[in-house]
Protein backbone atom coordinates (compact mmCIF):
# COMPACT_ATOMS: atom_id res chain seq x y z
CA UNK A 1 0.00 0.00 0.00
CA UNK A 2 2.85 2.32 0.88
CA UNK A 3 4.63 1.68 -2.40
CA UNK A 4 1.36 2.23 -4.25
CA UNK A 5 1.10 5.67 -2.63
CA UNK A 6 4.72 6.39 -3.53
CA UNK A 7 4.22 5.56 -7.20
CA UNK A 8 1.15 7.80 -7.36
CA UNK A 9 3.07 10.64 -5.69
CA UNK A 10 6.01 10.33 -8.08
CA UNK A 11 3.66 10.15 -11.09
CA UNK A 12 1.81 13.24 -9.89
CA UNK A 13 5.07 15.15 -9.42
CA UNK A 14 6.33 13.98 -12.81
CA UNK A 15 3.18 15.29 -14.47
CA UNK A 16 3.51 18.81 -13.02
CA UNK A 17 5.53 20.35 -15.91
CA UNK A 18 2.91 19.01 -18.35
CA UNK A 19 0.24 21.37 -17.06
CA UNK A 20 2.32 24.00 -15.26
CA UNK A 21 3.91 26.29 -17.83
CA UNK A 22 4.78 29.24 -15.57
CA UNK A 23 8.61 29.38 -15.47
CA UNK A 24 8.56 31.27 -12.15
CA UNK A 25 6.59 28.51 -10.43
CA UNK A 26 8.69 25.82 -12.08
CA UNK A 27 11.80 27.56 -10.77
CA UNK A 28 10.26 27.62 -7.28
CA UNK A 29 9.53 23.89 -7.55
CA UNK A 30 13.11 23.12 -8.60
CA UNK A 31 14.73 25.05 -5.74
CA UNK A 32 12.18 23.62 -3.31
CA UNK A 33 12.96 20.14 -4.62
CA UNK A 34 16.66 20.68 -4.05
CA UNK A 35 15.91 21.85 -0.51
CA UNK A 36 13.67 18.83 0.06
CA UNK A 37 16.54 16.49 -0.85
CA UNK A 38 18.62 18.29 1.74
CA UNK A 39 15.79 18.13 4.30
CA UNK A 40 15.46 14.37 3.71
CA UNK A 41 19.15 13.96 4.47
CA UNK A 42 18.75 16.06 7.63
CA UNK A 43 15.82 13.86 8.65
CA UNK A 44 18.08 10.81 8.51
CA UNK A 45 20.12 12.34 11.33
CA UNK A 46 17.46 14.25 13.24
CA UNK A 47 14.54 11.84 12.86
CA UNK A 48 16.26 8.48 12.94
CA UNK A 49 19.24 9.02 15.23
CA UNK A 50 17.90 11.99 17.22
CA UNK A 51 21.00 14.12 16.54
CA UNK A 52 20.25 17.75 15.63
CA UNK A 53 22.73 19.02 13.05
CA UNK A 54 22.38 22.81 12.97
CA UNK A 55 25.17 23.09 10.44
CA UNK A 56 23.66 20.85 7.87
CA UNK A 57 23.88 23.53 5.22
CA UNK A 58 27.68 23.16 5.38
CA UNK A 59 27.47 19.79 3.60
CA UNK A 60 25.14 21.31 1.02
CA UNK A 61 27.48 24.26 0.45
CA UNK A 62 30.58 22.08 0.29
CA UNK A 63 28.84 19.98 -2.35
CA UNK A 64 27.95 23.13 -4.28
CA UNK A 65 31.48 24.56 -4.16
CA UNK A 66 33.25 21.27 -4.91
CA UNK A 67 31.01 20.60 -7.88
CA UNK A 68 31.32 24.16 -9.19
CA UNK A 69 35.10 24.29 -8.80
CA UNK A 70 35.54 20.87 -10.41
CA UNK A 71 33.65 21.95 -13.49
CA UNK A 72 35.10 25.51 -13.62
CA UNK A 73 38.71 24.66 -12.87
CA UNK A 74 40.95 26.80 -10.67
CA UNK A 75 44.52 27.98 -10.23
CA UNK A 76 45.52 28.46 -6.62
CA UNK A 77 48.82 29.39 -5.06
CA UNK A 78 49.98 27.57 -1.94
CA UNK A 79 52.59 28.68 0.61
CA UNK A 80 56.10 27.86 -0.55
CA UNK A 81 55.53 28.88 -4.12
CA UNK A 82 53.53 25.79 -5.14
CA UNK A 83 50.50 26.15 -7.36
CA UNK A 84 47.56 23.83 -7.90
CA UNK A 85 46.17 24.16 -11.37
CA UNK A 86 43.00 22.29 -12.15
CA UNK A 87 41.60 22.04 -15.65
CA UNK A 88 37.78 21.96 -15.88
CA UNK A 89 36.22 18.50 -15.62
CA UNK A 90 32.68 17.50 -16.68
CA UNK A 91 29.90 18.50 -14.22
CA UNK A 92 29.03 14.83 -13.71
CA UNK A 93 32.46 14.27 -12.17
CA UNK A 94 31.81 17.37 -10.09
CA UNK A 95 28.59 15.79 -8.83
CA UNK A 96 30.40 12.59 -7.82
CA UNK A 97 33.21 14.52 -6.11
CA UNK A 98 30.65 16.72 -4.35
CA UNK A 99 28.99 13.64 -2.86
CA UNK A 100 32.34 12.16 -1.81
CA UNK A 101 33.69 15.41 -0.35
CA UNK A 102 30.53 16.08 1.65
CA UNK A 103 30.36 12.48 2.84
CA UNK A 104 33.97 12.75 3.97
CA UNK A 105 33.18 15.94 5.90
CA UNK A 106 30.20 14.10 7.40
CA UNK A 107 32.61 11.39 8.51
CA UNK A 108 34.96 13.92 10.14
CA UNK A 109 32.21 15.82 11.92
CA UNK A 110 30.61 12.52 12.97
CA UNK A 111 33.82 11.04 14.35
CA UNK A 112 34.70 14.25 16.14
CA UNK A 113 31.41 15.03 17.71
CA UNK A 114 29.44 11.85 18.34
CA UNK A 115 31.67 11.29 21.33
CA UNK A 116 30.07 14.40 22.78
CA UNK A 117 26.44 14.27 21.82
CA UNK A 118 23.30 16.32 22.31
CA UNK A 119 24.00 20.01 22.80
CA UNK A 120 27.69 19.54 21.97
CA UNK A 121 26.86 18.02 18.61
CA UNK A 122 24.65 20.99 17.84
CA UNK A 123 27.47 23.40 18.69
CA UNK A 124 30.09 21.48 16.71
CA UNK A 125 27.87 21.44 13.62
CA UNK A 126 27.05 25.17 13.87
CA UNK A 127 30.73 26.01 14.24
CA UNK A 128 31.64 23.74 11.36
CA UNK A 129 29.20 25.50 9.04
CA UNK A 130 30.47 28.90 10.15
CA UNK A 131 34.12 27.92 9.59
CA UNK A 132 33.34 26.64 6.12
CA UNK A 133 31.45 29.85 5.33
CA UNK A 134 34.43 31.96 6.43
CA UNK A 135 36.78 29.90 4.28
CA UNK A 136 34.49 30.36 1.27
CA UNK A 137 34.31 34.08 2.00
CA UNK A 138 38.02 34.70 2.51
CA UNK A 139 39.88 32.28 0.26
CA UNK A 140 39.23 34.62 -2.63
CA UNK A 141 41.79 33.07 -4.96
CA UNK A 142 39.86 29.77 -4.91
CA UNK A 143 36.25 30.77 -4.32
CA UNK A 144 36.14 34.40 -5.55
CA UNK A 145 34.85 35.19 -2.05
CA UNK A 146 31.86 37.54 -2.07
CA UNK A 147 32.30 38.06 -5.80
CA UNK A 148 30.77 34.59 -6.21
CA UNK A 149 31.60 31.75 -8.57
CA UNK A 150 29.85 32.50 -11.82
CA UNK A 151 29.27 30.84 -15.18
CA UNK A 152 28.97 27.39 -13.63
CA UNK A 153 28.14 25.07 -16.54
CA UNK A 154 24.81 23.20 -16.45
CA UNK A 155 24.72 19.56 -15.38
CA UNK A 156 25.63 17.21 -18.19
CA UNK A 157 25.26 13.46 -18.40
CA UNK A 158 27.36 11.56 -20.88
CA UNK A 159 30.01 8.95 -21.33
CA UNK A 160 33.27 9.40 -23.22
CA UNK A 161 32.65 8.81 -26.91
CA UNK A 162 28.89 8.92 -26.60
CA UNK A 163 26.65 11.89 -27.06
CA UNK A 164 26.02 13.79 -23.87
CA UNK A 165 22.85 15.31 -22.53
CA UNK A 166 22.94 18.83 -21.10
CA UNK A 167 20.35 20.00 -18.59
CA UNK A 168 19.73 23.51 -19.87
CA UNK A 169 16.04 24.22 -19.50
CA UNK A 170 13.95 24.41 -16.32
CA UNK A 171 11.94 21.43 -17.50
CA UNK A 172 15.05 19.26 -17.81
CA UNK A 173 16.33 20.40 -14.43
CA UNK A 174 12.97 19.69 -12.84
CA UNK A 175 13.18 16.05 -13.89
CA UNK A 176 16.84 15.85 -12.85
CA UNK A 177 15.95 17.04 -9.35
CA UNK A 178 12.99 14.67 -9.22
CA UNK A 179 15.16 11.69 -10.17
CA UNK A 180 17.84 12.53 -7.61
CA UNK A 181 15.12 13.06 -4.97
CA UNK A 182 13.54 9.67 -5.70
CA UNK A 183 16.93 7.94 -5.56
CA UNK A 184 17.74 9.69 -2.26
CA UNK A 185 14.36 8.71 -0.85
CA UNK A 186 14.83 5.05 -1.79
CA UNK A 187 18.36 5.09 -0.41
CA UNK A 188 17.20 6.51 2.93
CA UNK A 189 14.16 4.20 3.06
CA UNK A 190 16.30 1.12 2.46
CA UNK A 191 18.86 2.24 4.99
CA UNK A 192 16.25 2.94 7.64
CA UNK A 193 14.46 -0.36 6.93
CA UNK A 194 17.64 -2.40 7.25
CA UNK A 195 19.30 -3.53 10.45
CA UNK A 196 21.39 -0.33 10.36
CA UNK A 197 18.16 1.62 10.63
CA UNK A 198 17.02 -0.52 13.54
CA UNK A 199 20.36 0.06 15.22
CA UNK A 200 19.83 3.82 14.83
CA UNK A 201 16.33 3.61 16.28
CA UNK A 202 17.55 1.46 19.14
CA UNK A 203 20.24 4.00 19.99
CA UNK A 204 17.74 6.83 19.90
CA UNK A 205 15.25 5.08 22.18
CA UNK A 206 17.50 3.42 24.72
CA UNK A 207 21.19 3.76 24.15
CA UNK A 208 22.38 1.65 27.08
CA UNK A 209 20.19 -1.25 26.05
CA UNK A 210 21.22 -0.89 22.39
CA UNK A 211 24.87 -1.04 23.37
CA UNK A 212 24.27 -4.08 25.53
CA UNK A 213 22.89 -6.09 22.61
CA UNK A 214 26.03 -5.34 20.63
CA UNK A 215 25.23 -2.16 18.69
CA UNK A 216 28.31 -0.03 18.01
CA UNK A 217 27.32 3.59 18.74
CA UNK A 218 30.13 5.39 16.95
CA UNK A 219 29.95 3.21 13.86
CA UNK A 220 26.17 3.48 13.51
CA UNK A 221 25.99 7.24 14.06
CA UNK A 222 28.99 7.96 11.85
CA UNK A 223 27.41 5.92 9.09
CA UNK A 224 24.21 7.96 9.37
CA UNK A 225 26.24 11.20 9.26
CA UNK A 226 28.19 10.05 6.18
CA UNK A 227 25.09 9.07 4.19
CA UNK A 228 23.26 12.20 5.31
CA UNK A 229 26.13 14.51 4.37
CA UNK A 230 26.63 12.75 1.04
CA UNK A 231 23.01 13.31 0.03
CA UNK A 232 23.19 16.95 1.14
CA UNK A 233 26.31 17.29 -1.04
CA UNK A 234 24.41 15.88 -4.02
CA UNK A 235 21.70 18.48 -3.46
CA UNK A 236 24.38 21.19 -3.29
CA UNK A 237 25.84 20.08 -6.61
CA UNK A 238 22.40 20.22 -8.27
CA UNK A 239 21.93 23.70 -6.83
CA UNK A 240 25.26 25.00 -8.17
CA UNK A 241 24.70 23.70 -11.71
CA UNK A 242 21.12 24.90 -11.79
CA UNK A 243 21.67 28.41 -10.38
CA UNK A 244 24.99 28.75 -12.29
CA UNK A 245 26.22 31.09 -9.54
CA UNK A 246 27.07 30.48 -5.89
CA UNK A 247 28.44 32.75 -3.20
CA UNK A 248 29.27 32.20 0.50
CA UNK A 249 25.68 33.09 1.36
CA UNK A 250 24.68 29.47 0.61
CA UNK A 251 26.17 28.69 4.03
CA UNK A 252 23.79 31.09 5.78
CA UNK A 253 22.33 29.81 9.04
CA UNK A 254 18.79 30.64 7.91
CA UNK A 255 19.05 27.89 5.28
CA UNK A 256 19.66 25.29 7.98
CA UNK A 257 16.76 26.67 9.99
CA UNK A 258 14.48 26.36 6.94
CA UNK A 259 15.48 22.72 6.58
CA UNK A 260 14.88 22.03 10.26
CA UNK A 261 11.42 23.64 9.94
CA UNK A 262 10.64 21.43 6.94
CA UNK A 263 11.66 18.28 8.82
CA UNK A 264 9.92 19.13 12.11
CA UNK A 265 6.61 20.29 10.62
CA UNK A 266 6.51 17.43 8.11
CA UNK A 267 7.28 14.95 10.84
CA UNK A 268 10.77 13.92 11.83
CA UNK A 269 11.38 10.22 11.73
CA UNK A 270 8.85 9.71 8.97
CA UNK A 271 10.17 9.17 5.47
CA UNK A 272 7.55 11.34 3.77
CA UNK A 273 7.70 14.06 6.43
CA UNK A 274 10.44 16.24 4.94
CA UNK A 275 8.75 16.07 1.52
CA UNK A 276 5.40 17.29 2.85
CA UNK A 277 6.99 19.86 5.16
CA UNK A 278 9.32 20.91 2.35
CA UNK A 279 6.48 21.45 -0.12
CA UNK A 280 4.48 23.46 2.44
CA UNK A 281 7.28 25.73 3.63
CA UNK A 282 9.23 25.80 0.36
CA UNK A 283 6.24 26.96 -1.67
CA UNK A 284 4.47 29.10 0.95
CA UNK A 285 6.62 32.22 0.30
CA UNK A 286 5.93 31.84 -3.42
CA UNK A 287 2.18 31.92 -2.90
CA UNK A 288 2.27 34.62 -0.21
CA UNK A 289 4.42 37.00 -2.24
CA UNK A 290 1.71 38.24 -4.65
CA UNK A 291 -0.92 38.73 -1.94
CA UNK A 292 0.96 40.23 1.00
CA UNK A 293 3.45 42.91 1.91
CA UNK A 294 6.94 41.51 2.56
CA UNK A 295 6.69 42.08 6.35
CA UNK A 296 3.34 40.35 6.54
CA UNK A 297 4.62 37.34 4.57
CA UNK A 298 7.06 36.33 7.28
CA UNK A 299 4.46 36.85 9.98
CA UNK A 300 2.11 34.55 8.08
CA UNK A 301 4.95 32.06 7.64
CA UNK A 302 5.63 32.05 11.38
CA UNK A 303 1.92 31.87 12.16
CA UNK A 304 1.51 28.82 9.92
CA UNK A 305 4.49 27.18 11.56
CA UNK A 306 3.06 27.67 15.04
CA UNK A 307 -0.43 26.60 13.96
CA UNK A 308 0.81 23.35 12.40
CA UNK A 309 2.88 22.41 15.43
CA UNK A 310 0.03 23.32 17.76
CA UNK A 311 -2.49 21.11 15.98
CA UNK A 312 -0.06 18.38 14.98
CA UNK A 313 2.81 18.40 17.48
CA UNK A 314 4.43 15.31 15.99
CA UNK A 315 4.39 16.76 12.49
CA UNK A 316 1.95 16.57 9.60
CA UNK A 317 2.67 13.08 8.27
CA UNK A 318 2.75 11.12 11.57
CA UNK A 319 -0.40 12.90 12.81
CA UNK A 320 -2.34 12.18 9.63
CA UNK A 321 -1.29 8.51 9.53
CA UNK A 322 -2.27 8.08 13.16
CA UNK A 323 -5.67 9.70 12.52
CA UNK A 324 -6.35 7.58 9.44
CA UNK A 325 -5.46 4.35 11.18
CA UNK A 326 -7.57 5.31 14.18
CA UNK A 327 -10.67 5.91 12.10
CA UNK A 328 -10.01 2.62 10.31
CA UNK A 329 -10.08 0.69 13.55
CA UNK A 330 -12.62 1.49 16.23
CA UNK A 331 -11.02 -0.75 18.83
CA UNK A 332 -9.86 1.46 21.66
CA UNK A 333 -6.78 -0.62 22.14
CA UNK A 334 -5.00 -0.31 18.79
CA UNK A 335 -1.31 0.11 19.10
CA UNK A 336 -1.45 3.35 17.15
CA UNK A 337 -3.50 4.96 19.87
CA UNK A 338 -1.07 3.69 22.41
CA UNK A 339 1.62 5.13 20.25
CA UNK A 340 -0.08 8.50 20.39
CA UNK A 341 -0.39 8.36 24.15
CA UNK A 342 3.22 7.26 24.35
CA UNK A 343 4.30 10.18 22.24
CA UNK A 344 2.28 12.67 24.22
Amino acid sequence: MKSWLGIVAVAALASVPLWLRDPYLLNALITTGIFIICAMSLNLLLGFTGQLSLGHIAFFGIGAYVSALTSLGFDVGLPGGFRIVHEPWPPMTGFALAVLASAFCGYLVGRLSFRVRGAYFVIVTISFAEVVRLVALNWVELTQGPLALTNIPPMEIGWAGLESFVFRTKLQNYYLVLVVAVISYILIARLVGSHFGRAMRGLMENETLAVSVGIDVTRTLTLAAVVSAGIAGAAGSLYAHYMKIIDPEVFAFINTVTMVIMVITGGKGSLAGPIVGGLVFGLMPVFLRPVMAPEAQWIAYGGALIAILFVMPRGIVPSLTARRLRSASTASDTFVERGVKEGA
Binding site: R198, E205, L209, S212, G214, L223, F335, R338, E342
Partner: protein, 259 residues
Amino acid sequence: MAPPAALSIENIAVHFGGLVALSDMTFTVGEGEIVSLIGPNGAGKTTAFNVMTGFLNATHGAVSYHGKSLNGLKPHQIADLGLIRTFQRTSVFPNDTVHDNLLIGLHRQGRHSLLQAILGLPRARASEARLRQRAAELFEWVGLGRRAGDLAGSLSYGEQRLVGVALALAAEPSMLLLDEPVSGMNASETHTFVHLVRKIRDHGVTILLVEHDMPMVMSVSDRIVVLNYGRIIAEGPPEAIRNDPAVIEAYLGQGAKHA
Protein backbone atom coordinates in the same frame (compact mmCIF):
# COMPACT_ATOMS: atom_id res chain seq x y z
CA MET B 1 34.56 -31.14 40.60
CA ALA B 2 33.54 -27.58 39.70
CA PRO B 3 32.99 -26.84 35.99
CA PRO B 4 35.63 -24.75 34.18
CA ALA B 5 35.25 -21.04 34.89
CA ALA B 6 33.38 -19.03 32.26
CA LEU B 7 33.64 -15.67 33.97
CA SER B 8 36.26 -14.86 36.55
CA ILE B 9 36.40 -11.71 38.61
CA GLU B 10 39.70 -11.11 40.35
CA ASN B 11 40.27 -8.50 43.04
CA ILE B 12 37.87 -6.03 41.46
CA ALA B 13 37.57 -2.70 43.26
CA VAL B 14 35.55 0.35 42.23
CA HIS B 15 36.00 3.72 43.90
CA PHE B 16 33.86 6.74 43.10
CA GLY B 17 36.11 9.44 44.50
CA GLY B 18 36.34 8.57 48.18
CA LEU B 19 33.36 6.22 48.09
CA VAL B 20 34.23 2.55 47.87
CA ALA B 21 31.47 0.85 45.90
CA LEU B 22 33.31 -2.44 45.61
CA SER B 23 36.42 -3.52 47.44
CA ASP B 24 38.44 -6.51 46.39
CA MET B 25 35.76 -8.78 44.94
CA THR B 26 36.87 -12.19 43.70
CA PHE B 27 34.64 -14.97 42.44
CA THR B 28 34.08 -17.14 39.41
CA VAL B 29 31.06 -18.39 37.55
CA GLY B 30 31.48 -21.89 36.12
CA GLU B 31 30.32 -22.80 32.66
CA GLY B 32 26.63 -23.78 32.66
CA GLU B 33 26.10 -22.67 36.26
CA ILE B 34 23.33 -20.47 37.61
CA VAL B 35 24.97 -18.16 40.14
CA SER B 36 23.16 -15.45 42.08
CA LEU B 37 24.73 -12.29 43.40
CA ILE B 38 22.71 -11.04 46.37
CA GLY B 39 23.05 -8.44 49.07
CA PRO B 40 21.19 -5.55 50.67
CA ASN B 41 20.53 -2.37 48.65
CA GLY B 42 23.72 -0.48 47.92
CA ALA B 43 25.89 -3.55 48.42
CA GLY B 44 27.47 -3.05 44.99
CA LYS B 45 25.63 -5.64 42.91
CA THR B 46 24.75 -3.42 39.98
CA THR B 47 28.19 -1.81 40.13
CA ALA B 48 29.66 -5.30 39.76
CA PHE B 49 27.41 -5.90 36.74
CA ASN B 50 28.46 -2.63 35.16
CA VAL B 51 32.13 -3.53 35.54
CA MET B 52 31.64 -6.99 34.03
CA THR B 53 29.82 -5.61 30.99
CA GLY B 54 32.13 -2.68 30.30
CA PHE B 55 29.75 0.11 31.32
CA LEU B 56 32.10 1.05 34.14
CA ASN B 57 35.87 0.76 34.50
CA ALA B 58 37.19 -0.90 37.62
CA THR B 59 39.64 1.08 39.73
CA HIS B 60 41.73 -2.05 39.91
CA GLY B 61 41.39 -5.76 39.39
CA ALA B 62 40.64 -7.88 36.36
CA VAL B 63 37.62 -9.47 34.72
CA SER B 64 38.08 -12.24 32.19
CA TYR B 65 35.66 -14.27 30.14
CA HIS B 66 36.83 -17.69 28.94
CA GLY B 67 40.38 -16.55 29.62
CA LYS B 68 40.04 -13.32 27.62
CA SER B 69 40.55 -10.14 29.59
CA LEU B 70 37.61 -7.73 29.40
CA ASN B 71 39.49 -4.75 30.80
CA GLY B 72 39.18 -1.70 28.59
CA LEU B 73 36.68 -3.27 26.18
CA LYS B 74 33.59 -1.27 25.21
CA PRO B 75 30.14 -2.67 26.03
CA HIS B 76 29.37 -3.64 22.44
CA GLN B 77 32.70 -5.44 22.15
CA ILE B 78 31.91 -7.43 25.30
CA ALA B 79 28.49 -8.21 23.82
CA ASP B 80 30.30 -9.54 20.76
CA LEU B 81 32.05 -12.06 23.01
CA GLY B 82 28.65 -13.47 23.96
CA LEU B 83 28.37 -11.87 27.39
CA ILE B 84 24.96 -10.18 27.39
CA ARG B 85 23.17 -8.37 30.21
CA THR B 86 19.69 -7.16 31.01
CA PHE B 87 18.85 -3.99 32.91
CA GLN B 88 17.08 -3.27 36.16
CA ARG B 89 14.89 -0.41 34.98
CA THR B 90 14.91 0.28 31.27
CA SER B 91 14.74 -3.10 29.67
CA VAL B 92 12.96 -2.33 26.37
CA PHE B 93 12.81 0.07 23.41
CA PRO B 94 9.46 1.56 24.49
CA ASN B 95 8.28 3.11 21.21
CA ASP B 96 8.72 -0.01 19.11
CA THR B 97 6.57 -3.12 18.96
CA VAL B 98 7.76 -6.25 20.74
CA HIS B 99 8.54 -7.70 17.32
CA ASP B 100 10.70 -4.71 16.35
CA ASN B 101 12.37 -4.78 19.75
CA LEU B 102 13.57 -8.27 19.02
CA LEU B 103 14.68 -7.31 15.52
CA ILE B 104 16.86 -4.61 17.09
CA GLY B 105 18.12 -7.21 19.55
CA LEU B 106 19.02 -9.50 16.66
CA HIS B 107 21.51 -6.88 15.44
CA ARG B 108 24.45 -9.22 15.98
CA GLN B 109 22.90 -11.82 13.68
CA GLY B 110 21.78 -9.60 10.83
CA ARG B 111 25.05 -8.34 9.53
CA HIS B 112 24.79 -8.20 5.82
CA SER B 113 26.67 -5.31 4.24
CA LEU B 114 25.22 -1.83 3.91
CA LEU B 115 25.39 -2.03 0.12
CA GLN B 116 23.40 -5.26 0.06
CA ALA B 117 20.75 -3.71 2.27
CA ILE B 118 20.49 -0.56 0.13
CA LEU B 119 20.35 -2.43 -3.16
CA GLY B 120 17.81 -4.88 -1.70
CA LEU B 121 19.90 -7.84 -2.85
CA PRO B 122 18.47 -11.34 -2.35
CA ARG B 123 21.02 -12.12 0.34
CA ALA B 124 19.93 -9.13 2.38
CA ARG B 125 16.28 -10.09 1.92
CA ALA B 126 16.93 -13.69 2.91
CA SER B 127 18.77 -12.51 5.99
CA GLU B 128 15.85 -10.18 6.88
CA ALA B 129 13.39 -13.06 6.52
CA ARG B 130 15.59 -15.23 8.73
CA LEU B 131 15.68 -12.47 11.37
CA ARG B 132 11.88 -12.17 11.40
CA GLN B 133 11.59 -15.91 11.76
CA ARG B 134 14.08 -15.89 14.63
CA ALA B 135 12.26 -13.01 16.34
CA ALA B 136 8.99 -14.92 16.13
CA GLU B 137 10.61 -18.00 17.67
CA LEU B 138 12.06 -15.92 20.47
CA PHE B 139 8.86 -14.27 21.65
CA GLU B 140 7.04 -17.56 21.44
CA TRP B 141 9.82 -19.06 23.52
CA VAL B 142 9.55 -16.52 26.34
CA GLY B 143 5.74 -16.63 26.11
CA LEU B 144 5.00 -13.22 24.53
CA GLY B 145 3.57 -14.52 21.25
CA ARG B 146 0.24 -12.72 21.53
CA ARG B 147 1.96 -9.42 22.39
CA ALA B 148 4.16 -9.29 19.29
CA GLY B 149 2.34 -6.35 17.68
CA ASP B 150 2.04 -4.25 20.85
CA LEU B 151 4.32 -1.38 21.74
CA ALA B 152 6.85 -2.59 24.28
CA GLY B 153 6.25 0.48 26.44
CA SER B 154 2.59 -0.45 26.81
CA LEU B 155 3.28 -3.84 28.42
CA SER B 156 3.14 -4.52 32.15
CA TYR B 157 6.45 -4.38 34.01
CA GLY B 158 6.57 -8.15 34.25
CA GLU B 159 6.08 -8.50 30.52
CA GLN B 160 8.66 -5.82 29.83
CA ARG B 161 11.12 -7.88 31.87
CA LEU B 162 10.40 -10.82 29.57
CA VAL B 163 10.98 -8.64 26.52
CA GLY B 164 14.27 -7.59 28.09
CA VAL B 165 15.29 -11.22 28.51
CA ALA B 166 14.16 -12.06 24.96
CA LEU B 167 16.22 -9.09 23.71
CA ALA B 168 19.26 -10.43 25.52
CA LEU B 169 18.64 -13.92 24.11
CA ALA B 170 18.32 -12.41 20.64
CA ALA B 171 21.96 -11.42 20.92
CA GLU B 172 22.78 -15.16 21.26
CA PRO B 173 24.61 -15.02 24.56
CA SER B 174 26.88 -17.74 25.86
CA MET B 175 26.47 -16.09 29.24
CA LEU B 176 23.56 -14.02 30.47
CA LEU B 177 23.67 -11.45 33.26
CA LEU B 178 20.21 -10.73 34.62
CA ASP B 179 19.78 -7.61 36.76
CA GLU B 180 16.73 -8.07 39.03
CA PRO B 181 14.69 -9.83 36.36
CA VAL B 182 11.65 -10.66 38.50
CA SER B 183 11.11 -7.28 40.16
CA GLY B 184 7.64 -6.16 39.17
CA MET B 185 6.45 -9.69 38.55
CA ASN B 186 3.71 -11.39 40.56
CA ALA B 187 4.17 -14.82 42.15
CA SER B 188 2.93 -16.84 39.21
CA GLU B 189 4.94 -14.80 36.72
CA THR B 190 8.01 -15.33 38.89
CA HIS B 191 7.32 -19.06 38.96
CA THR B 192 7.14 -19.17 35.15
CA PHE B 193 10.31 -17.09 34.98
CA VAL B 194 12.24 -19.59 37.11
CA HIS B 195 11.34 -22.27 34.56
CA LEU B 196 12.48 -19.98 31.77
CA VAL B 197 15.84 -19.37 33.46
CA ARG B 198 16.35 -23.13 33.84
CA LYS B 199 15.36 -23.66 30.22
CA ILE B 200 17.90 -21.05 29.10
CA ARG B 201 20.60 -22.73 31.17
CA ASP B 202 19.69 -26.12 29.69
CA HIS B 203 20.47 -24.63 26.30
CA GLY B 204 24.03 -24.17 27.49
CA VAL B 205 23.90 -20.55 28.62
CA THR B 206 25.71 -19.65 31.83
CA ILE B 207 23.69 -17.36 34.08
CA LEU B 208 24.62 -14.76 36.65
CA LEU B 209 21.67 -13.26 38.46
CA VAL B 210 21.23 -10.24 40.70
CA GLU B 211 17.95 -10.51 42.57
CA HIS B 212 16.16 -9.48 45.76
CA ASP B 213 13.42 -12.09 45.62
CA MET B 214 14.91 -14.63 48.07
CA PRO B 215 12.55 -17.58 47.41
CA MET B 216 13.30 -17.18 43.70
CA VAL B 217 17.05 -16.99 44.28
CA MET B 218 17.01 -20.01 46.59
CA SER B 219 15.04 -22.12 44.14
CA VAL B 220 16.94 -21.32 40.98
CA SER B 221 20.59 -20.92 42.00
CA ASP B 222 23.34 -23.51 41.99
CA ARG B 223 25.52 -21.17 43.98
CA ILE B 224 25.04 -17.83 45.72
CA VAL B 225 27.54 -15.02 46.31
CA VAL B 226 26.57 -12.54 49.03
CA LEU B 227 27.84 -8.97 48.90
CA ASN B 228 27.65 -6.36 51.62
CA TYR B 229 29.31 -2.94 51.70
CA GLY B 230 31.24 -3.79 48.54
CA ARG B 231 32.81 -7.01 49.79
CA ILE B 232 31.89 -10.68 49.58
CA ILE B 233 30.71 -11.95 52.94
CA ALA B 234 29.61 -15.46 51.97
CA GLU B 235 29.62 -17.83 49.03
CA GLY B 236 28.13 -21.29 48.59
CA PRO B 237 25.09 -23.40 47.70
CA PRO B 238 21.64 -22.08 48.73
CA GLU B 239 21.30 -24.27 51.87
CA ALA B 240 24.62 -23.06 53.23
CA ILE B 241 23.78 -19.41 52.53
CA ARG B 242 20.37 -19.71 54.16
CA ASN B 243 22.00 -20.63 57.47
CA ASP B 244 25.11 -18.49 57.27
CA PRO B 245 25.24 -16.18 60.32
CA ALA B 246 27.06 -13.42 58.42
CA VAL B 247 24.32 -13.34 55.79
CA ILE B 248 21.54 -13.28 58.35
CA GLU B 249 23.31 -10.44 60.12
CA ALA B 250 23.68 -8.46 56.88
CA TYR B 251 20.02 -8.76 56.09
CA LEU B 252 18.43 -8.65 59.52
CA GLY B 253 21.01 -6.82 61.59
CA GLN B 254 22.22 -8.01 64.97
CA GLY B 255 19.88 -6.23 67.29
CA ALA B 256 20.85 -7.62 70.70
CA LYS B 257 24.56 -6.77 70.49
CA HIS B 258 24.01 -3.12 69.66
CA ALA B 259 21.28 -2.65 72.22
